[in-house]
């Protein structure tokens, strides 16, 4: 897998300093702790976790919007923060992001044409207006905004949420990317529209051979979009379990993953009413400013081993082939 990897995270950590006033105490808030991850070319990796677990930060680190506090992020084997200008430009073009909120991801003062043509002009993909128009129409067509002529000179506010998200997707495609981070790309959309956006992403992935990091809080969507890929489950800034999607869903190993799967309400009365949720030791999520020592899930975990889980941080163990878990229950297995 290493040689095919398009993106690798090598012991990446990210902290923010939180200050209160001029003399207030500075506190280190570790959002990502020692994250190592490798995403193969053409793969779909679903990053799943609750809000505030650090999954959006991971996405921003990968697209180079923020710098890691420590560790390296490699694109095609090169550390993005020690690239030369030429290499960094190529990386910028190759790695794109689709945001969650289609209402804030499009600049309200620009028409769709301007939004989509700016990167084309900037990177010399078109030379004049008629070329740009042609290319923009083609992009709109590709994201099923048809007929594209109806959309090209509209402002974002004249479109519905689903249509805006399609424009945002079209924008991410302008530079023929190799890798796209989709950060909760459907969670703000109406239920009946979500699936069509997911289908669009799936189609683009096939047509353009794009690698996807699909960030979501919705395990069902992850399962649906990433069945052929892998799922990584994140909790308080760390990946606690990672493996091929079918195995993580059908045979979850980490207590947190298990708790999630047992807790998720499902749109099927029989299925959902027959669930027996896991009894957690505590309902409260620890604050990132005040993380518990040892495994961060230990204060809530029913399988917690006193003296071990609250003292040491577990490594990644591989009890099954390609299926990793960071939990002492699997040490030595």
């Amino acid at each position: 897998m290493e040689d095919r990897a398009i993106i690798q995270l090598d012991h990446v950590s990210k902290s923010f300093t939180v200050r209160s006033g001029i003399f207030g105490g500075r506190k280190n808030m570790q959002v990502i702790g020692d994250l190592s991850l490798s995403i193969g070319r053409g793969e779909v990796l679903c990053l799943v976790g609750e809000s505030g677990c650090g999954k959006t930060t991971t996405g921003k680190l990968i697209v180079g919007l923020i710098k890691p506090t420590s560790g390296r992020i490699l694109f095609e084997g090169k550390d993005i923060w020690s690239m030369n200008n030429e290499e960094f430009k190529d990386y910028r073009k190759a790695v794109q992001i689709i945001h969650q909120d289609p209402y804030s991801s499009l600049n309200p003062v620009h028409r769709i044409y301007n939004i989509l043509s700016a990167p084309l002009f900037r990177h010399g993909l078109v030379r004049n207006r008629s070329e740009a128009e042609e290319k923009v129409l083609d992009l709109l067509d590709r994201v099923d905004l048809t007929p594209p002529g109806d959309f090209i000179y509209k402002y974002p506010h004249q479109l519905s949420g689903g249509q805006r998200q399609r424009v945002a997707i079209a924008r991410s495609l302008t530079l023929n990317p190799k890798f796209i981070v989709a950060d909760e790309a459907v969670s703000m959309l109406d239920v009946s529209i979500r699936l069509s956006i997911i289908e669009l992403l799936r189609r683009l992935k096939e047509e353009m051979n794009v690698t996807f990091l699909f960030i979501t809080h919705d395990l069902a969507m992850a399962k649906y979009f990433g069945w052929e890929g892998r799922i990584a489950v994140m909790y308080l800034g760390r990946i606690v379990e990672i493996g091929p999607t079918p195995r993580v869903i059908e045979n979850p190993l980490h207590p947190y993953t298990k708790a999630l799967l047992m807790a998720i309400p499902e749109a099927d009365p029989q299925v959902t009413r027959n669930k027996t949720p896991m009894k957690l030791r505590s309902l409260d999520i620890p604050s990132l400013l005040n993380l518990p020592p040892g495994c961060s899930f230990n204060p809530r975990c029913p399988f917690w081993i006193e003296g071990t889980c609250d003292k040491e941080v577990p490594d990644m163990y591989e009890p099954e082939n390609d299926h990793y878990v960071s939990c002492f229950l699997f040490r030595g297995k």
């Binding site: 910028r92 600049n107 003062v109 900037r122 990177h123």
Partner: protein, 291 residues
């Protein structure tokens, strides 16, 4: 873009939007009239400087539409000729304040960290010092010799509140997802500042400029009334100062003499503030597109 479309976008659409808000429209009309009166009017109405002792404190008549002053001079001609300098100084001062505020405010927000802390600390300090006394004290020290200097002094003290507001605007726009998208698309810093951030702040900046202008009118006329601006030939502020120091205001018949410049200033301030209500719409495509 065809030239007709440009004309339509720059002139016609804003007018349509202005006409939508009633108060804003009235403000716009008044402001335009005052500007015309003060900048074009002097070519038609000469300043009456001739002392006519037989015509002191006359009430409005066909000959003198606003009556006459304590030396029998026509008040209307004084009003027409007394606005230009006040407005020019206010505009210059407002422009300087806005320029400083926009540069420091955006720099502070964009750079963040230590730069931000320092700029904001200085801003807060200047903000705490009462502006008018500082101006007055400075005016006493610095020999004010011409209007430009006055505009500079007022402008250099008027930026802190604006800078703070601009900073928070830039901070909030900077965090929007479309800025992130532009960064990921490598559209360049210039594009991000001038094409993504600035257009979203344009209405805010123009409104700030107008508010800074009204603030400058306040300081300027205040200084003139206190007698701290020695060089002036003739303007609305000076009319008030003369009426006050020479005791004209204590005379019942002087009502038109004293009221005219006051009303001129008040109308200018009010119409400028009211006009800003329409400006929001001119720069906002959501309102522009006519939804």
């Amino acid at each position: 873009m065809k030239s007709r479309e440009i004309v339509k976008r720059i002139f016609w659409e804003p007018l349509v939007i202005i006409s939508r808000d009633k108060a804003g429209l009235i403000g716009f009309i008044f402001l335009l009239s005052i500007l015309l009166l003060s900048f074009v009017g002097p070519y038609f109405v000469k300043l009456d400087t001739e002392v006519k002792l037989d015509k002191i404190y006359q009430f409005p008549s066909r000959e003198h539409i606003l009556g006459t002053d304590n030396q029998g001079r026509d008040i209307f001609s004084q009003i027409v000729n007394g606005g230009r300098d006040v407005i020019i100084v206010a505009f210059l001062a407002g422009l300087i304040s806005t320029l400083i505020a926009v540069s420091l405010g955006s720099l502070s927000a964009y750079a963040g960290g230590f730069t931000d802390t320092v700029i904001m600390f200085i801003t807060e300090i200047i903000l705490t010092i009462p502006q008018f006394p500082l101006l007055a004290v400075l005016a006493a020290f610095v020999r004010l010799t011409n209007p430009t200097m006055l505009a500079f002094i007022i402008g250099f003290l008027g930026w802190p509140a604006l800078a703070r507001a601009i900073r928070s605007q830039v901070l909030s726009i900077k965090e929007r997802d479309y800025i992130e998208a532009a960064r990921v698309l490598d559209l360049g810093r210039m594009h991000i500042i001038f094409s993504e951030i600035l257009p979203n702040m344009l209405s805010y900046i123009v409104i700030s400029l107008i508010m800074a202008m009204t603030g400058a009118v306040y300081s300027q006329v205040g200084l003139i009334i206190l007698g701290l601006v020695p060089f002036y030939g003739h303007n609305w502020g000076l009319m008030i100062q003369l009426a006050w120091t020479r005791g004209a205001i204590f005379y019942k018949g002087s009502i038109f003499y004293i009221l005219s410049p006051i009303i001129a200033i008040v109308l200018f301030q009010w119409s400028a503030v009211t006009f800003t209500r329409s400006l929001e719409g001119i720069f906002n495509p959501r309102l522009r597109a006519g939804e």
